[in-house]
């Protein structure tokens, strides 16, 4: 039975917080912020523009435009209409972006240049093909002249593919991770204080070990943080696909997986420190002071990681992405930007797991030594000795 006690503690901490208004509010705020970022990105043309083209009757031009939409960097949907009047009504109502009737392209106030170019090119190539056929040319002549890409395009030094899109994803990842690590860490600390301030901790510790209580609390709150992060990431990817802000679903899913993985690592590293900070004080008002060193460390890591968006290979960023604690924020950014080498990634994992393994027993001892002491703030040295 004793082995399951921490699971009971974890379950309580999970369910109690799931029903808290602050949890629901923080989830909503996260969703709103993410939605704003994604919609802004879709509006700023970060994604592929899409057009709806009304086609009156049958049109060879329309079919050709549809076939070449990718080459023009756009998505195109054709809407067939029998009657020109109905098509114009749809245009006036904003249901379609333009109407194509024979060789006439009509927009409401203007026609998007991309669409115009694509329609003109399609019409031109059709005319050329017909003229070649009329002059007695065979299919091979048509294919030779009609080749849409006669010029081979290459680059001298290939950059990371879709680097701009990835910077956007990396930005969202680092904001989310910072919010989750910090927010859920504070929840651990204030959960410890709640038990200390209400004195229920004395009742609990007559039944279970201090370390079981600490482990259960961290686990319960951590799982809640993980589920919230997964929910938000799924929402973000879904919204990104619908609005067209995300062009490559695979890389977005990979980024979400990296964020979730580093949340687990980072939370494991920070949570026991937050628990110790909470155990040192008795009143919520004192918590801010007790948290200063941890807050400072997380904030500096966050700041460096934001810097990584512009320069993912800088020395400071590279070091921060390997060191335990700061790696939870800096490494996912560098991975998403394609800057991290496999060696660096492995090193960051090994150091983070190793540091956490060393930290948890020490934190457990400090927590056990401090959590029953009420009144003045407990000194770390006293807490360490008390639990000897």
């Amino acid at each position: 039975m004793t082995g399951r006690v921490w699971a009971l503690v974890a379950r309580r901490d999970f369910w109690v917080r799931l029903r808290e208004r602050s949890f629901i509010v923080s989830t909503l705020i996260n969703l709103i912020v993410i939605s704003i970022l994604i919609v802004l990105r879709a509006l700023s043309g970060g994604g592929t523009p899409g057009f709806e083209l009304a086609v009156v009757g049958t049109s060879a031009v329309a079919d050709r435009v549809a076939a070449s939409a990718d080459a023009f960097g756009m998505r195109l949907a054709l809407a067939p209409y029998e009657d020109a009047g109905a098509a114009r009504d749809a245009l006036a109502a904003g249901e379609v972006d333009a109407v194509l009737e024979g060789e006439t392209l009509t927009g409401l106030h203007a026609v998007a240049p991309q669409l115009t170019q694509a329609v003109q090119a399609a019409a031109v190539s059709l005319r050329i093909e017909r003229r070649i056929e009329a002059l007695g040319g065979g299919p091979e002549d048509v294919a030779f002249v009609g080749n849409a890409q006669p010029v081979a395009v290459g680059v001298l030094s290939p950059g990371a593919p879709d680097s701009e899109a990835n910077a956007g994803i990396a930005f969202i990842v680092v904001i989310l991770l910072y919010g989750q690590l910090f927010g859920y860490g504070v929840w651990v600390a204030s959960g410890v204080i709640e038990e200390k301030a209400s004195r229920v901790v004395e009742l609990l510790l007559a039944t279970i070990r201090a370390r079981q209580l600490m482990a259960g609390k961290i686990l319960g709150i951590g799982v809640l943080g993980l589920l919230q992060l997964t929910f938000i990431a799924s929402f973000a990817i879904g919204l990104g696909l619908v609005t067209g802000a995300i062009e490559l679903p695979a890389s977005a899913v990979a980024a979400a997986a990296i964020a979730i993985g580093y949340f687990i690592l980072g939370f494991a590293f920070y949570a026991s420190l937050f628990a110790v900070a909470g155990s040192l004080v008795t009143r919520m008002e004192e918590l801010q002071n007790a948290l200063v060193p941890i807050n400072l460390f997380i904030f500096v890591s966050f700041f460096i990681s934001i810097g990584a968006l512009a320069d993912p290979d800088g020395t400071l960023v590279t070091v921060a992405s390997v060191l335990p604690g700061s790696s939870a924020l800096a490494m996912p950014v560098r991975i998403v930007l394609g800057a991290a080498t496999p060696t660096q990634i492995v090193l960051s994992l090994v150091l983070s797991i190793g540091a956490t393994a060393a930290l948890i027993p020490a934190s457990g001892r400090l927590y056990a030594g401090a959590v029953l002491r009420t009144g003045a703030r407990v000194k770390l040295r006293d807490a360490w000795r008390a639990a000897a």
Partner: protein, 301 residues
């Protein structure tokens, strides 16, 4: 039997416990009495493992107490503690489960206790929304929910109204008499201790100064006091008697203290010779008087 054996504990320079030894037999209710700061709470916290002793041992049924055994103890800390924002029933079920109960059993017990302790309020409401007296009853329910083998209660009666005191007293007696649980509780309400307890443990400055059934304590410790009222006698009529001293004079009567050689029959003879004897009764000291006496002895010793 719950045994506390030679417990020592210091806090810095302060000696809180200086060799505390006493035991609580199964089925007995024992009162733990002493001034503020005498060491009651420290001893109880050590018994529950919330605090470590510098030296000494706590044994239950002859074996040293470990965490598995302590999970069968029921405890009410001096500083009350429950999750203020957790719902009453949910909280009791949670605490029961920490003690190893199944959810169904814990809920059944918790519901029965809420009823038995006459808690006024919705079991689905948050603890913080209840009155202090009702919170106190929930606190007691928290100590009882897992049908403990041992009950250790620090000041369980403080803050209860007279009805609450009666309900709690009855519950403690039931636990001891019908389930054979050893019950030890501290209290400053000495009349209550006298009424409820089979034995008392008096603690002063970290040492047990008296221990045993109240009657035995009275017999061994008490001064022999006689209240005598004689009409028509001189004010100092008793002075001729050897080994007799005036303790107090009240409303025409005198309370005389007799030392070991003095014979109460000779006091009566003299009194009758002096005048009309209206009252002649031995004075039983209350527990409060015994307590003061023992503590004063300790101060002068």
């Amino acid at each position: 039997m719950l045994e506390l054996i030679d417990l020592h504990r210091r806090f810095g320079e302060t000696v809180a416990l200086d060799g505390v030894t006493f035991s609580v037999p199964e089925g007995a209710v024992v009162g733990f009495v002493g001034r503020n700061g005498a060491g009651k709470t420290t001893a109880m916290r050590i018994a529950l493992g919330v605090l470590a002793a510098d030296a000494g041992e706590v044994r239950w049924r002859g074996a040293p107490v470990d965490l598995a055994v302590r999970r069968r103890f029921g405890y009410m800390p001096e500083e009350r503690g429950l999750y203020p924002r957790m719902r009453v029933l949910e909280q009791l079920v949670y605490l029961g489960r920490l003690h190893g109960m199944t959810p169904a059993h814990a809920e059944e017990r918790a519901t029965a206790l809420i009823d038995r302790l006459q808690v006024v309020g919705d079991p689905g409401s948050r603890v913080e929304s209840l009155s202090l007296g009702n919170q106190q009853r929930i606190q007691l329910a928290a100590a009882l929910v897992h049908e403990p083998d041992v009950l250790v209660l620090d000041e369980p009666f403080s803050g209860l109204d007279p009805t609450g005191v009666d309900v709690l007293a009855q519950v403690l007696l039931d636990e001891a008499r019908t389930r054979g649980v050893p019950v030890v509780f501290s209290s400053h309400q000495l009349e209550l201790v006298e009424r409820l307890c089979d034995a008392v443990v008096l603690i002063d400055r970290g040492r047990v100064v008296a221990d045993g059934p109240i009657a035995a304590l009275r017999a061994s410790r008490a001064r022999r006091l006689l209240r005598v009222e004689v009409r028509g006698a001189d004010a100092d009529w008793y002075e001729a008697l050897p080994g007799v001293r005036l303790d107090a004079a009240v409303d025409g009567a005198v309370v005389l203290e007799l030392d070991d050689e003095a014979d109460p029959q000779r006091v009566l003879d003299l009194a009758r010779a002096q005048g009309d004897v209206r009252a002649f009764t031995p004075v039983e000291p209350t527990l409060a008087q015994l307590f003061r006496e023992v503590v004063d002895e300790g101060v002068t010793a």
